[in-house]
């Protein structure tokens, strides 16, 4: 299973990949994660990878190899379509964050990204994760809302996902995150 998490630095993609990693370990097979640290984290386009299965060599997912892409932002979803496997699934947060070239007027934010992706035959499940994160009580929990949306489409049970969240998220943020997960799961 190859899962890519794409988003904007600061959106909590790292925590999301670690939750998926924790859930994957509990399946008993091999797991590899690849993360992004340092300069590229500062508001830039970020990608993390989670791979699990019987035996995993490379921690990186190549073009056309992702079973699931979890996109935290629309433009970032659009950027990585070449990585989706045929028949793969996209989970997209409808949130939009302007990159600096759009802010300075040097480029335009593409219109109707989700519509265009669907026209290309991509299976897209979209969700306003920001609204649900607010409902959960913390706008920072967008990442866990999206895990909830994705969870329904995996062979890992709801309880196992909740266990993985408990293992990964610090105690004081656990309640908000479990609420965020359930809101995503039921969305």
């Amino acid at each position: 299973m190859n899962i890519m998490i794409v988003g904007v630095g600061g959106q909590g993609t790292l925590l999301a990949s670690r939750i998926i990693g924790a859930a994957a370990i509990n399946l008993g097979g091999d797991v590899k994660l690849s993360e992004v640290h340092g300069m590229s984290q500062r508001g830039g386009s970020v990608v993390t990878y989670v791979r699990y299965g019987e035996k995993i060599a490379s921690p990186i997912i190549g073009e056309g190899e992702a079973d699931v892409i979890l996109a935290f932002e629309q433009l970032e979803a659009y950027r990585y379509i070449s990585y989706l496997k045929e028949g793969g699934k996209y989970i997209v947060n409808t949130q939009k964050t302007n990159p600096m070239p759009v802010i300075t007027g040097a480029a335009k934010y593409p219109e109707d990204i989700l519509g265009k992706m669907e026209k290309m035959g991509i299976s897209v499940t979209s969700c306003d994760a920001l609204a649900l994160a607010k409902e959960a009580g913390n706008i920072k929990s967008v990442n866990v809302v999206l895990i909830g949306v994705m969870a329904k489409h995996t062979n890992i049970s709801k309880e196992e996902w909740e266990e993985a969240i408990k293992q990964t998220v610090p105690e004081k943020f656990l309640e908000v995150n479990l609420k965020a997960f359930r809101l995503g799961y039921d969305a």
Binding site: V8, G9, G10, R18, G21, A22, I25, D30, V31, K32, L33, S34, E35, V36, H37, G38, M39, S40, Q41, R42, G43, G44, S45, I56, A57, S58, P59, I60, G62, E63, G64, L75, E76, Y78, R79, I81, S82, Y83, L84, Q95, T97, N98, P99, M100, P101, V102, I103, T104, G105, A106, A107, K108, Y109, P110, K116, M120, I122, L130, I139
Partner: protein, 575 residues
């Protein structure tokens, strides 16, 4: 017990299990977390040093004193520490000494793409290269054994994809290793020429012995499958090779200096042809050719950037990948930017407004070169800002110096900026230096440093007083100013660049990502906005231009309060 671990965390675990006593490092992506994880083990003394040279020297001292010692750094950090490295190779060790160097192929977070394997060859020290987290831990422990067995420092080399990937690691207990006896040994430890000459002879003998050891070592793995294709690889390239060509025979090299000559010859006997798969320089390839083994290497593989499974499939198996889906319109890039609330933004807003020449340095503030501020003229290396401005003044004269400032962070100033400032004072320069004092080492993920007043374990300690330090080296004009008070900051900069003597401006405001900044709430733009776009000049990622004028993104604004300071119409207010 098995645990999913970052490569860097596994190196820390290896150091713990190996009974390491002392760790001294300077942060640098992708190596930083090694020392951060080590700091969580109370059994190990750990510290952040002012720079990598100091860190390695401290580790050498600890090893000479009989302890097991480690220092971790990024590839360019090893440049800073190269001086002690080349000589400790001659001296050897008492307790084991391991230097960890993290290379960054693809330059995810670096200013160059150097291949640090060349250092192992040049300094004649053994180098190990793990390919996943389990090996990160095992090889760290092995490195200490080799260090003590062969009386040599050992370098453990990782690359970004190993350092920052997580995979399964089997945890073991720490094995306490007593600190060895220390006895004075001038012939071994004092590298004057008379002592160094016989040492060089020993180093060459050591290299031969290590090559023999390497050929018989379990650090390497020979996997004979289909013998039509043989691949020699190390580190992350091994993983790509296994993914791309699961049926090929592979020689995975764990100790990449000195090379396992016998093993390579044995492998060459077994396979029809050999591809050497290695990112960056042709280190293994050149070695194979030097011992008369014909290999395919850089004639088909690039010297530049990261490799991938697809690249190997294409080059070795000549498989063309299926045409991937592509958008039929340009997708705007999303480069890294200074965060909303970044304390540096006020500084670069003023420097950009005054159209000054700005010599820059290494840190988050290097992003001050990006649009719309486009403030920075040069960036070379850690501490290179003040000296660049000084050199420009000496080439172009005082008028140019009056339109030039050097900018660098607090941690970078302590790292190696201070020596540049001394150069300015001593050699009668007039450079204006702006120290961006954000109370933390920012870019690498918020480490303490000598100017923050806290140790790696967050214990309070004596803080380097930057103002007193600048005075002490002979700078009379030292001003502390808040970069968010943009009118005053502009006035200060104008005064200091006009001065016919060296001056230092300490731009003091904490990084927006640390608690000390204390930002809460957010700002909105009200109907007093005249759409003058002054706020857009800040390049804040939270402010975008819409059809109805500038708008502040509620999810990004941290409430830092900089934008109301540049609005002339009072149109930006707290939400």
């Amino acid at each position: 017990m098995k645990k999913l671990m970052l490569g860097n965390e596994a190196i820390a675990r290896g150091a713990y299990e190996a009974g390491v006593h002392v760790v001294s490092s300077y942060p640098g992506t992708p190596s930083t977390e090694i020392t951060e994880f080590i700091a969580k083990y109370d059994e190990i003394y750990s510290e952040w040093a002012p720079n990598e040279k100091v860190a390695v020297e401290t580790a050498i001292g600890a090893a000479t004193g009989g302890g097991r010692a480690l220092s971790a750094m990024k590839h360019v950090g090893l440049n800073v520490a190269a001086d002690p490295l080349f000589t400790v190779s001659y001296i050897g060790v008492n307790g084991g000494l391991v230097l960890v160097v993290a290379d960054d192929p693809g330059m995810h977070s670096s200013q160059n793409e150097q291949d640090s394997r060349n250092y192992a060859i040049a300094a004649k020290v053994p180098m190990l290269e793990p390919a996943d987290s389990a090996e990160c831990k095992e090889f760290t422990k092995k490195a200490f054994e080799i260090s003590e067995q062969f009386d040599t420092p050992v370098i453990l080399r990782v690359t970004t994809r190993v350092a920052h990937s997580q995979s399964m690691v089997e945890l073991e207990d720490r094995k306490e290793v007593p600190v060895k006896d220390y006895t004075k040994n001038i012939a071994k430890n004092v590298m004057i020429p008379a002592n160094a000459r016989p040492k060089h002879v020993m180093v060459e003998e050591r290299t031969k012995a290590l090559s023999e050891y390497n050929s018989a070592s379990d650090l390497n793995k020979m996997e004979i499958n289909d013998t039509k294709i043989g691949i020699i690889a190390a580190g992350i390239s091994y993983q790509y090779a296994k993914e791309a060509c699961p049926d090929a025979s592979v020689l995975k090299i764990g100790m990449i200096n000195p090379m396992p000559e016998k093993l390579i010859r044995e492998f060459a006997e077994k396979v029809d042809k050999i591809y050497v798969v290695e990112q960056l320089d042709p280190v293994i390839e050149n070695y194979c050719r030097s011992i008369g083994i014909d290999v395919i290497g850089k004639e088909i593989f690039t010297l530049i950037g990261e490799y991938s499974t697809e690249l190997l499939k294409e080059k070795i198996l000549v498989e063309k990948p299926a045409e991937p889906m592509k958008a039929d319109e340009p997708i705007p890039v999303r480069p890294a930017v200074m965060c909303p609330g970044c304390s540096h933004r006020g500084v670069f807003y003023v420097l950009s407004k005054l159209k000054l020449n700005v010599t820059g340095d290494i840190g988050c503030y290097s992003l001050g070169c990006a649009k719309p501020l486009e403030s920075i003229d040069t960036i070379v290396c850690m501490g290179g800002s003040i000296t660049a401005a000084h050199g420009m003044e000496k080439a172009r004269g005082k008028d140019f110096a009056r339109k030039t400032v050097a900018v660098l962070g607090d941690s970078t100033f302590v790292h190696s900026g201070i020596t540049g400032l001394i150069d300015v004072v001593y050699n009668k320069g007039t450079t204006t230096t702006i120290i961006l004092d954000n109370s933390i080492t920012g870019m690498t993920g918020h480490q303490q440093n000598p100017a923050t007043g806290f140790t790696i374990k967050n214990e309070p300690t004596r803080q380097v007083d930057l103002e007193m330090l600048a005075h002490a080296v002979g700078v009379d004009r030292v001003v502390i100013a808040d970069p968010f008070d943009v009118d005053n900051f502009e006035k200060v900069v104008k005064e200091e660049i006009a001065a016919e003597e060296p001056s230092v401006i300490i731009a003091q405001r904490p990084c927006a990502l640390i608690k000390k900044a204390g930002y809460t709430g957010r700002y909105v733009i009200n109907d007093k906005c005249k759409n003058c776009k002054m706020c857009m000049k800040l390049g804040c990622p939270a402010i975008s231009l819409t059809e109805n004028g500038p708008k502040i993104d509620e999810t990004l604004c941290v409430g830092c309060g900089l934008c109301p300071n540049v609005c002339k119409f009072g149109a930006i207010e707290r939400a």
